[in-house]
């Protein structure tokens, strides 16, 4: 890591169904809110990055007109970045390069999702299938039953069950505890909808072994944040949220070739680099926002980061360790599973709020060091071949 320390100095968040609002307007509005939150003037923003869930893992790249023009920001650069759900993590990594070299003072990073509105539109149109559609270039499987994330992730759960004896009830324990956190977050789509293990088990089986309650929400929303150097951050309105370390791992390095990618994710290199840069061990984390597109995704991270030995993530979850009152609060806003799906931005937003002391009823008292993780799209399909990112944030360190 270079000598420059970075901090998040502004945050803008838009949640809830956004019918009638385009992605470009959501991205623009989130950026405007973030600039306002930082107490900056738009004339000070000289770098912009847009987070888009590019293939693999999503194709939200197909619109034009960038938010810097729409908001009239005098930026020296603007480009899109992202891979699947790895958005905030990659945005931060890219911004670092520009800030470290003095190519910008304040970089605004913004992204939006309209998956919920699109899904409701499709439903209103009677899901009129398009006959004779062509599979996407380089992709395998739509003609033979492939449903991308739903297929790959249910294979992860199934393989872990076959090899280690993990049960659906253990995955349910993860879902239940994260749902408990959501009961303390009025912004969560599942706020006011508590869930027992029995509810989880009784929820419709989508792709066995995954029930409906093992799967993330479908959401609209947008998030933007401003990154700057620590010295500039000190003069601004908000408590600077320090970016202490980052690390990445890709399943394509060894796990895919070794055929271990349905029981493990590429966490080791990400964890080691991030922890080393931040100068921390696992016990230093006051809470963690673990990418939770599906319940087994959380279980794999409980094992990969070391809270539980390989194969024992289910038993660890059953102890109640990750819910309110547990030893390691996980996804305190309700995560993708119960709050909303905004890729890694869901965890990023809550990490920033916890560190700023803004998490109200779900505040982890004295939170100083947190992690949010990212899962990014499959390099090929079929094939759970994803990027994993670990980002350590802190205050007062």
């Amino acid at each position: 890591m270079g000598n420059t320390r970075l901090a998040i100095v502004g945050l803008g968040v838009i949640t809830g169904t956004q019918t009638g609002r385009s992605r470009r307007m959501l991205v623009s509005e989130a950026a405007r809110l973030a600039i306002e939150d930082a107490g900056l003037d738009k004339t000070q923003i000289n770098g912009a990055i847009e987070m888009r869930a590019a293939p693999g893992g999503g194709d939200r790249t197909n619109y034009s007109d960038g938010f810097p023009r729409i908001l009239n920001l005098p930026v020296n650069f603007y480009f899109p970045i992202g891979r699947g759900g790895a958005l905030a993590s990659l945005g931060i990594a890219a911004a670092y390069s520009f800030l470290d070299r003095g190519l910008a003072d304040y970089v605004v990073i913004s992204g939006a999702t309209d998956v919920r509105s699109l899904a409701e539109l499709a439903r209103a149109r009677g899901h009129r299938g398009r006959p004779h559609d062509l599979e996407k270039e380089g992709y395998w499987g739509s003609p033979v039953g492939e449903l991308r994330a739903m297929s790959h992730h249910s294979w992860m759960a199934a393989r872990h069950m076959a090899v280690y004896g993990t049960t659906s009830e253990q995955l349910g324990a993860i879902a239940v505890q994260i749902r408990e956190w959501a009961q303390r977050n009025p912004e969560a789509q599942m706020y006011g909808k508590p869930m027992t293990l029995e509810d989880h088990q009784n929820s419709p089986m989508l792709v066995e072994p995954y029930h409906l309650c093992d799967v993330a929400q479908v959401s609209d929303g947008a998030c933007a944040f401003i990154v700057s150097t620590e010295d500039r951050a000190r003069d601004l309105r908000q408590v600077p949220v320090q970016i202490l370390g980052q690390g990445f791992g890709d399943v394509a390095a060894t796990l895919w070739w070794d055929k271990l990618n349905y029981t493990q994710m590429a966490i080791r290199t990400a964890r080691d680099a991030a922890f080393s840069q931040a100068g921390i061990t696992l016990d230093d984390l006051d809470a963690a926002m673990l990418y939770d597109c599906f319940t087994a995704e959380v279980l794999f991270q409980l094992e990969g980061y070391g809270w539980a030995p390989l194969g024992e993530g289910g038993a660890f979850a059953e102890t109640g360790a990750i819910g309110p009152g547990g030893s390691i609060p996980i996804n305190t806003s309700g995560g993708l599973l119960s709050a909303y799906h905004m890729d890694d931005l869901t965890g990023f937003i809550e990490a920033v709020r916890q560190l700023r002391g803004e998490s109200k009823d779900r505040q982890v008292v004295g939170a100083k060091t947190l992690m949010f993780t990212s899962h990014g799209g499959e390099m090929l399909s079929p094939g759970m071949c994803s990027i994993h990112a670990s980002t350590i944030l802190g205050v007062g360190r």
Partner: protein, 145 residues
């Protein structure tokens, strides 16, 4: 087949066209290294030694079409309307005897997916020569019922 094909059609490109041509002939081809004998799917440069330009030492070679189920799921809810008539169906990831992994529908099985992991399968060819430019899909059937 006479029923209308409402699902996606395969995307046949420069890197997989020989694989799809093999399927038309009911042959299961895999990408094979002429130097060391390693097998791959999809196409890759050989991992174990230097490669000729554009991996010219590799070629598509007929393989057994047999393997073992590495993981499995069963689609019980209709998530894609094109699959309504087929649901429930099992979708499996197969570790082929030669080494590479490939996925497809598992025929004639809709019970607990965990129980079918580790079972032996063999490829079954499903002809759709009258759809668009025509293609044949590889699917799997249990060998040791």
């Amino acid at each position: 087949m006479t029923t209308e094909w409402t699902k996606a059609r395969p995307n046949i490109d420069l890197d997989n066209q020989e694989f799809w041509a093999g399927l038309r002939d009911h042959r299961f081809l895999l990408w094979h290294c002429g130097v060391c004998g390693a097998w791959y799917w999809p196409k890759a440069y050989c991992r174990y030694h230097e490669n000729q330009p554009f991996a010219a030492q590799m070629s598509w070679v007929e393989s057994s079409g047999r393997g073992v189920i590495h993981s499995a799921n069963v689609h019980r809810s209709v998530l894609d309307p094109a699959w309504k008539e087929d649901t429930p169906f099992a979708y499996v990831l197969v570790e082929l005897d030669e080494g590479p992994m490939i996925s497809s529908t598992l025929l004639d099985y809709t019970e607990d997916p965990i129980r079918v992991i580790g079972r032996k399968v063999g490829v079954v060819y499903e002809d759709h020569l009258d759809v668009g430019e025509g293609f044949v899909l590889p699917k799997f059937a249990l060998l040791d019922s």
